[in-house]
Amino acid sequence: MSVFPYLVAAWVLLMGLFGVVRSRHLVHTVVCVSVTQSSTYVLLLAVGYQKKATAPIFGQADPPGSPVVDPVVQAMALTDIVVSATVSALLLALVIQVAKRHGTVVPDELHALRG
């Protein structure tokens, strides 16, 4: 397995974090949080990948014992996606509410909580 997918995962993670730090719009912030999470999908699938292996479903074409990719990381990625959907939905709902109550979605202009 090459090291390339791991580098991609680390790059996506750092870009997502950088996006949150430099964000000028709260919706952009939420998307960057999702980007950060996407890095974990890349990482998990890269961990389970094997060359010349098929999906982990055994049948007539693939009898038990034939090479398959790791199903555990796929289950983890699926769980991760469910978590991501929940968190993104909640974050976007909060952003809508921020827009209504503060009249702005620019992080620099939110001053309700300080010190």
């Binding site: 995962a9 993670l13 997502g16 974090l17 949150v20 730090v21 430099r22 964000s23 709260l26 912030t29 939420v30 949080v33 950060t36 999470q37 890095s39 974990t40 990482l43 998990l44 961990v47 555990v72 990381v73 983890m76 769980t79 991760d80 978590v83 929940t86 968190v87 909640l90 974050l91 909060l94 952003v95 509410q97 921020v98 109550r101 503060h102 992080p107 620099d108 939110l110 001053h111 309700a112 909580l113 300080r114 010190g115």
Partner: protein
């Protein structure tokens, strides 16, 4: 162990979830009292189950393999719940706090439909699962379950500008922490092909530590430390506490943030203890602990918003819990555990009393509330008592934990730090209590700084009718305070915690109990009050009283800026500016903190 006990851990996680589903179904049709009663009964049942589980762990950890999938030679799959004494005690603490919060909310919330109790139960289930699971990925999932419920609870009052901003800050910072943690879990799985804590311990101990292990532990620890609100991951905590409903703050401060510390300790002792060099872990925890304790204390003293003040005091105490862990001994863990239990009770009671103030006077500003709560003498006395207990007065749970912590640290500078943190955070609470409930000193007239949240005009969680404070509210406050006193009495509590801590730090034992059911024998440290600890407790309580009176009469802390040296003003201004409420700033500190954690582990 018998079969009935092994059904307890999954039951404790599922019972609140089932209760929450029933509440949401009935929410639109059932009357409010029925909803509240159902929620209270569910929380109480969870607490009773947790007590039963704790009793069952006396003869060894209760281990449950989900669906009977026990890893064997043919396959390595299996998800495990491991309830050792410490985990079961943590769940009991969570369930008791949830019950108290719901009891207090009985006459506190007017308008909320079933969302609030249902979310609170989901939150409880997430925390209980996190404390009980023996699987790293499940820790992440339960972490997210409790986090999502917590974000929703923080932003419960969606009409409030502060509440939505606080909820958003909390959610973004904690989610980023969780993803860093998941990244670390993925790296560990890539190396070992295991997710269970006992299996991971076995797999990792077969080869030495390398870069991947350091980075994986650093990332996982970062995730849990974000929840624990260790500096520099602490920014979300004050924002979330300032805006969340008061009853929720009880769970945030008493259980959720300490669970982060628990998570770090659990992962370290169950998995990494045999692999990572102890010096690096000790250094990382010690640096974070000292920074967290110092910054939390300074920010606590500078606050005038009562809930923010209590929140920063929680951060300071999280630093002390980390200090206990940093010793990397069963004595240190036992000290942190005792302190954690005492702190949860005292801080919970203080938050509930802040809630009473909010519901009566529509303000949480120490300055505006000066002398206005004079008629509530009983609550005032309880508030002052809470402040004294926080400062570590003997015969309280916090005082007991503090004296154990001083003994486990074996170091004069650290002992001085512990006393200073206890005395100053206690003094800040005493200052508020004496001013608000007793009108001590002159009326303060400080100008609010631009970079400060004062809490002068807050919308209460409910319009409680004027007149006497409902008996359910008082009962919740006094139940927590008496728990704080009971956990400080010498006797059985200390012995039980000592045994639990010895079991907790026994890495080989955790693995064996989970995988083969063997119960190793371990010797427990002896925990009692010592003369030394009692004297130091009296010293710090006395110092807290003196500092509080100084703070009130000497016109400083909140006073005008003209009479003070420029350096003090600059530092204070800088600290307020640092806590900017800006998501980008918080995320930048998160990245810096993660790098610092890994660096401290690795260097040297």
């Amino acid at each position: 162990m018998d079969g009935s006990a092994s059904a307890l851990p999954p039951l404790i996680v599922t019972a609140p979830i089932a209760g929450a589903c029933v509440l949401l179904l009935l929410g639109r049709i059932a009357p409010r009292r029925l909803i509240d009663a159902l929620a209270l009964v569910t929380a109480l049942a969870t607490a009773i189950l947790a007590g039963w589980l704790l009793a069952a762990t006396g003869s060894g950890a209760v281990v449950t393999w989900a669906g009977g999938w026990h890893p064997g030679p043919r396959f390595a799959v299996g998800i495990v719940l491991v309830a050792d004494r410490m985990g079961a005690a943590m769940v009991l603490l969570i369930a008791v706090l949830a019950t108290t919060a719901l009891l207090f909310g009985w006459r506190y919330f007017d308008t909320v439909r079933a969302h609030y109790p249902a979310l609170l139960l989901l939150f409880t289930a997430g925390m209980a699962g996190y404390a009980l699971t023996g699987d790293l990925f499940d820790m992440f999932v339960f972490f997210e379950l409790m986090s999502v419920a917590a974000y929703a609870l923080t932003g419960l009052e969606i009409e409030e500008p502060e509440a939505v901003q606080g909820g958003l800050n909390f959610a973004v910072v904690n989610s980023l922490g969780a993803y860093l943690c998941l990244f670390g879990i993925g790296l560990l799985y890539a190396r070992t092909g295991q997710l269970g804590l006992p299996q991971l311990s076995l797999a990792l101990s077969q080869r030495g530590p390398d870069a991947l292990v350091f980075i994986a532990f650093g990332l996982i620890a970062t995730g849990w430390l974000v929840k624990a609100a260790a500096v520099p991951f602490h920014f979300w905590l004050a924002d979330a506490h300032a805006v969340a409903p008061t009853t929720v703050c009880v769970l945030f401060s008493g259980a959720m943030a300490p669970l982060g510390v628990y998570g770090v300790a659990r992962v370290y002792w169950a998995v990494f203890d045999t692999v990572l060099p102890a010096a690096g872990v000790h250094r990382m925890m010690l640096v974070l602990a000292v920074c967290t304790a110092l910054l939390g204390t300074v920010m606590c003293v500078l606050q005038r918003h009562i809930k923010r003040l209590l929140a920063y005091s929680t951060i300071a105490h999280i630093g002390l819990f980390l200090l206990g862990l940093a010793a990397l001994t069963p004595e240190g863990v036992a000290a942190s555990a005792v302190y954690l239990a005492g702190h949860a009770a005292v801080k919970g009671a203080l938050f509930l009393m802040a809630g009473i103030l909010l519901s009566r006077y529509r303000s949480l500003d120490e300055v505006r509330l000066y002398g206005r709560a004079r008629q509530h003498r009983v609550v005032g006395a309880a508030f002052v008592l809470g402040g004294l207990m926080l400062s570590g007065i003997p015969l309280s749970g916090t005082g007991f934990g503090k004296s154990l912590l001083e003994e486990s640290a074996h170091s004069v500078p650290l002992t001085v730090l512990v006393i200073a943190v206890s005395a100053l955070t206690g003094a800040a609470v005493l200052r508020v209590g004496l001013r608000v409930f007793f009108g001590v000193g002159r009326p303060p007239e400080p100008a609010a700084e631009a970079d400060e949240t004062t809490g002068a005009h807050e919308t209460p969680d409910a319009d409680t009718p004027p007149g006497r404070i409902p008996v359910t509210m008082l009962a919740a406050v006094f139940a927590l305070l008496s728990a704080g006193v009971l956990s400080g009495l010498p006797g059985r509590f200390g012995r039980e915690v000592a045994a639990a801590a010895a079991q907790f730090c026994d890495r080989i034992g955790y693995r064996d109990r989970a995988l083969s059911g063997a119960v190793p024998v371990q010797s427990a440290p002896d925990l009692t009050w010592t003369l030394h600890g009692t004297i130091l407790g009296l010293v710090s309580a006395g110092a807290a009283v003196v500092l509080a009176l100084l703070g009130i009469h000497h016109r400083n802390m909140l006073g005008d800026n003209n009479s003070r040296p420029a350096a003090v003003i600059a530092v204070r201004h800088g600290l307020h500016r640092l806590h900017s409420g800006h998501i980008g700033d918080y995320a930048a500190w998160l990245v810096f903190g993660c790098a610092a954690v890994i660096g401290l582990l690795w260097v040297g």
